[in-house]
């Protein structure tokens, strides 16, 4: 798997320089404050899961990182690059060029897959590498086939998304995101839109990815068992703040905060 993923700087500098760092970030939708003075850091190669009740702002964290949502106050850096430019204009307070640079380090897998329905599986995975990274069709296809093989769908390369099951679509979406060789990959409830019997195959692919040391992963999921298995760290998120975080074992077996306990009880039954 190593050869199909980006080569990342080694983890030696991990402790010193987080790859993601939110410092006092405040995000509002009109009068609604979703993130309030939010602080959060992720080390290179770390696999972090966000759990928490609906509406607590988990997706918003990922969407801000993906530059799909602007934020109003505080600082955010990705691989050392600040999201806001000193004299940045517009809601994102950054030029298109700057946003482009940020996005080159981060990818996202969506709950609803969002594959391009008019393109074959192969084309879905080659489109951006060819258009954005400037790879030749041949190079892009070579990379795409490797990735499709990794998610177990090389034989479906000429199918269209509508001809695939939800689980297969999500695996293609993962391959598509990986084809851009991001340092950071965001997953927003990647299995929530799937029929129960299709969840396993997608989690399997993500689990394999998680064994990849270089890729930094930030996941939002309601699959608690899975979170416990793949994460280096689990963060319980409520009302726009991290209430409690730590190693999965501890969070799931001995949560310190009453709210964490309450939440885990409600989802684990």
């Amino acid at each position: 798997m190593n050869k199909v993923l980006a080569q990342q700087p080694d983890a030696a500098s991990a402790a010193a320089a987080p790859v993601i760092e939110f410092r006092n970030v405040t995000k509002r939708f009109g009068a609604l404050t979703v993130l309030d003075d939010f602080n959060f850091a992720v080390a290179p190669g770390e696999k972090v899961t966000l759990i928490g009740p609906s509406g607590s702002g988990k997706s918003t964290v990922l969407r801000i990182l993906m530059t799909l949502e602007p934020f109003q106050e505080g600082q955010l850096t990705l691989a050392g690059i600040p999201y806001h430019e000193p004299n940045g204009k517009g809601p994102f307070r950054a030029s298109d060029r700057h946003l482009h640079q940020i996005r080159s380090h981060v990818g996202m897998v969506f709950q609803s897959f969002n594959l391009f329905p008019h393109m074959s599986v192969l084309r879905n995975v080659t489109e951006a590498p060819a258009a954005v990274l400037g790879l030749s069709r041949a190079e892009a296809e070579c990379r795409a086939i490797d990735l499709l093989r990794m998610v177990g769908l090389a034989d479906k390369k000429d199918h269209y998304p509508a001809q695939l099951s939800g689980g297969q679509q999500q695996r293609v979406a993962i391959a598509r995101a990986l084809a851009m060789r991001p340092r950071v990959l965001l997953f927003d409830e990647p299995t929530s839109a799937l029929d129960p019997q299709l969840v396993g195959e997608v989690l399997g692919v993500i689990r394999n990815l998680a064994s990849e040391h270089d890729l930094t992963m930030l996941l939002v999921t309601h699959e608690m068992r899975f979170a416990r298995e793949v994460s280096d760290r689990v963060c319980f998120f409520d009302k726009g703040r991290i209430v409690e975080e730590g190693e999965p074992e501890r969070i799931f077996t001995a949560p310190a905060e009453p709210r964490t306990r309450e939440f885990l009880q409600s989802v684990l039954g």
Binding site: M66, D96, H118, A131
Partner: protein, 230 residues
């Protein structure tokens, strides 16, 4: 006698047969004007639709104003303006070209609305996926949005094509010799309007039917999910 064809008024049938070649010459003009006008409307309408979504407010507002203006003024006024007023400012265009531009401009206002609806119907997730893949706005339009929009707008665009086709006779007022204009001239000279006008009506009916059938076919053969442009 017109274009070297003499009319034969013995019976309505011989009359019809004798003037058909003349009307067919007019028909080619009609078809050329409609084809060129519609091509212009398709291109210009897309440009308007995209400009209207520009993030630069001044560009978006100016475009909205221009589109509204084109849509709310009669084709005939635009036609007269291009034909009679522009020469005062040193711009003299041939009648046919004037007609094509007037048709194209007026219909670009309609097509731009169709494009706008088509673009807005693309789910937000498609834009977000494109952003997450670091595609630029332009690449997203070209590779994701427009290809998916095309099959959805074909039926409405088809209606506008038919509508434009039926409006081409207006061009006769600026001396374009299209079909209806020729039929009128034949009537003026023979004092017999019934046959030429009926023939024009029937030809338009046939054209419209053929057009609609063609668009229907196109709808059927186009992949529903969209057509990659490259």
């Amino acid at each position: 006698m017109m274009y070297g064809y003499a009319w034969d008024l013995t019976t309505p049938l011989t009359y019809a047969a004798s003037i058909l070649p003349i009307l067919l010459i007019g028909l080619t003009v009609t078809l050329q004007a409609a084809a060129a006008g519609f091509a212009l409307a398709l291109v210009l309408g897309l440009v308007f639709a995209l400009l209207r979504r520009s993030r630069i407010k001044a560009v978006a507002l100016t475009t909205a104003f221009v589109v509204e203006f084109l849509r709310d003024t009669p084709l005939l006024v635009q036609l007269f303006f291009l034909y009679y007023v522009l020469p005062d400012y040193g711009i003299t265009l041939p009648a046919f070209l004037t007609g094509v531009i007037a048709l194209g401009l007026q219909y670009s206002a309609y097509t731009s609305e169709v494009y706008r609806g088509g673009i807005e119907a693309i789910p937000r997730g498609q834009w977000e996926a494109a952003t997450a893949l670091n595609m630029t706005r332009w690449q997203t339009y070209r590779d994701i949005v427009i290809p998916q929009m095309v099959p959805r707008i074909v039926p409405t665009m088809g209606n506008y094509l038919v509508a434009m086709l039926k409006e081409t006779p207006v061009l006769s007022v600026v001396t374009v010799l299209e079909m209806l204009g020729l039929a009128n001239m034949i009537g003026e000279r023979t004092f017999e309007y019934l046959v030429p006008l009926s023939m024009v009506g029937i030809i338009f009916l046939l054209l419209t039917l053929i057009c609609s059938a063609g668009i229907h076919r196109l709808e059927k053969v186009l992949p529903k999910a969209g057509i990659p442009l490259r």
